[in-house]
């Protein structure tokens, strides 16, 4: 007997199912925060593993963060390193750009999303630190190959919207590193929850003040010291209730706005079928 034919599934339905599948996979993990701070870009990820990184260096000024399936984003990371190294070697080190890399990922993820049975269950951020804060770039790339040019910060994976909301409350331009780290950790922690211990977080920066390669992984005593400074800055920032109320109102206002302003994680609802209707 031949395999029974299940009937017709419209392309829209297939895409929606694939997007749904990928979105579920990505939401299962913990969120990763990428944000600008005074001297560059900060990456923070809750990660119990010391060896299996979610954050990595791609090139002199470019960092990478990912959530989702490890084997899938690891292959993306390696491809990115190969792409950057081969371009930097062929031309010049300054000719490797975050934009080019984001496009490469977008193309590849887009192709996989449309052509494979299973799309990649990943969401990634490509961040490039510039000469000045205005030149910093943060690109968020989703499983279907959509690219978002984020301003100041990006949250991927897990409860991305809730974490993003909490981060937005605390984020402002040009935060010093300890304050920025504090904001990121506060955003990653559910209200009333405990912050992850030092051993459970992965932190790295793209520091524009560094020579040669800007990427620096913060570990061990250096990270502990920074976390202590972050804790102190948090103590200083804890103000009377009035401000918290204000913050809450602001959050509510944001929540009301959210449906309009927040970019969709994936194509939702009407999908462009290209039929020109």
């Amino acid at each position: 007997m031949s395999i029974p034919f299940g009937g017709y599934a419209s392309p829209e339905q297939i895409m929606r199912d694939r997007a749904e599948y990928a979105r579920k996979g990505i939401a299962r993990g913990r969120s990763v925060v990428v944000m600008q701070y005074a001297d560059g870009i900060l990456f923070v990820a809750p990660n119990p593993s010391k060896a299996l990184h979610k954050i990595s260096e791609i090139y002199d000024r470019i960092g990478f963060a990912a959530v989702g399936r490890y084997n899938e984003f690891e292959s993306l990371r390696l491809a990115g390193i190969r792409y950057a190294d081969i371009n930097g070697y062929t031309f010049n080190r300054t000719d490797v750009t975050g934009r080019g890399l984001a496009n490469l990922y977008a193309q590849h993820l887009g192709m996989i999303f449309t052509e494979s049975i299973k799309s990649f269950e990943v969401e990634i951020v490509v961040a490039e630190v510039g000469e000045a804060a205005e030149d910093d770039q943060i690109y968020r790339i989703t499983f279907d190959g959509s690219v978002f040019d984020e301003q100041g910060m990006a949250v991927i994976g897990g409860q991305a919207e809730a974490v993003g909301g909490r981060l937005k409350e605390r984020y402002s331009e040009g935060l010093p590193l300890p304050q920025a780290l504090d904001a990121a950790l506060a955003a990653l922690t559910e209200p009333g929850g405990e912050r992850p211990p030092v051993t459970q977080i992965e932190v790295a920066v793209l520091d524009r003040g560094r020579e040669h390669r800007k990427f620096l992984r913060l570990t061990g005593p250096r990270l502990e010291k920074l976390l202590e400074a972050a804790k102190e800055s948090q103590g200083g920032a804890r103000q009377p209730a009035a401000e918290e109320v204000q913050a809450e109102q602001a959050q509510q206002a944001q929540a009301e706005q959210a449906p309009d302003t927040a970019p969709p994680i994936a194509p939702d609802g009407d999908i462009d079928t290209g039929s020109g209707e």
Partner: protein, 278 residues
């Protein structure tokens, strides 16, 4: 998509080792400097040659210095060429021989070390770095037979030993680990003779820098292809120091101070410092 280079398709699917040059060799051989195309005739002296490099270990690290001259036969083709390169945080290399091949080799080698570090999440061991360079030199052997000889000197701070280490090579590869100090290039005989007398074990990086500068001066004194410090044009040797703190190329004004103190001494003693006989 026919117009894109072949390596684009391999970016996501390549499952080979963490070596960048191997990836190039398989998927973009046209970018690889070590090609087996033989030249019609040896080119020899017509292309610029880089000359003398010295390296010496110091307390907790290693110092490497190189003169700034490149020659094509009897012509000085460049007065301010740089021949000492940072290859990663804890290592550097100097090149002697065909300048163009050497520059390209240094560029590729730097990417090679970084590529491993980024993909594997750890740095290569010092021996690993030295071996890798040997293979790359050997890849250039056919070109070397045609006269495009390039021979590097590799120096690194080894975090596992807490000391500086020096490796030399020949056209067939290597590496040959050298104790205390070594020099390569056309003026290397004179530089080595000088260092033999001036080198002090476990002396400070500053003293070792001075000894290296004296050695380069002695090389320039007796070898026409090695350039001495150019006081008029303010062109100083390239000096780099690698310690626990990482690679550091001394800024020009710092080197100028060393050179000036050396020259002042040479005004009264042109042959430089003398080693005690008894």
């Amino acid at each position: 998509m026919a117009s894109q280079p072949a390596w684009v398709n391999s970016l996501f699917t390549y499952t080979g080792s963490s070596s960048f040059s191997e990836f190039l060799g398989v998927h973009a051989p046209n970018l690889h400097p070590a090609r087996n195309e033989s030249l019609a005739a040896p080119v020899g002296d017509e292309i610029p040659h880089a000359t003398t490099i010295v390296a010496a270990t110091c307390a907790g690290g290693v110092v490497m210095a190189g003169d700034r001259r490149a020659t094509s036969g009897n012509i000085i083709s460049q007065r301010d060429i740089e021949k000492v390169f940072r290859t990663d945080d804890y290592s550097c290399m100097g090149i002697a021989g065909t300048a163009s091949t050497g520059l390209e080799l240094a560029r590729l080698y730097r990417v090679e070390l970084e590529h491993y570090e980024k993909t594997e999440g750890r740095s290569l061991s010092t021996e690993g770095k030295a071996h890798r360079l040997a293979t790359m030199i050997r890849g250039n052997l056919p070109m070397a037979m045609q006269g495009l000889v390039v021979v590097p000197l590799f120096a690194a701070y080894d975090p596992s030993h807490g000391t500086g280490r020096i490796f030399s090579y020949d056209v067939g590869g290597g590496p040959y680990e050298q104790r205390e100090f070594h020099s390569i290039g056309s003026g290397s005989i004179f530089a080595r003779g000088s260092l033999k007398k001036l080198y002090r074990e476990n002396s400070s990086p500053q003293d070792t820098v001075l000894a290296c500068l004296h050695a380069l001066y002695d090389a320039a004194d007796d070898d026409s292809a090695t350039g001495g410090p150019d006081v008029m044009r303010k062109i100083w040797p390239v000096v780099s120091v690698i310690t626990d703190d990482g690679f550091r190329r001394l800024p020009d004004d710092e080197v100028a101070e060393f050179v000036e103190s050396m020259l002042e001494r040479r005004m009264t003693a042109p042959e430089g410092p003398t080693a005690p006989l008894r």
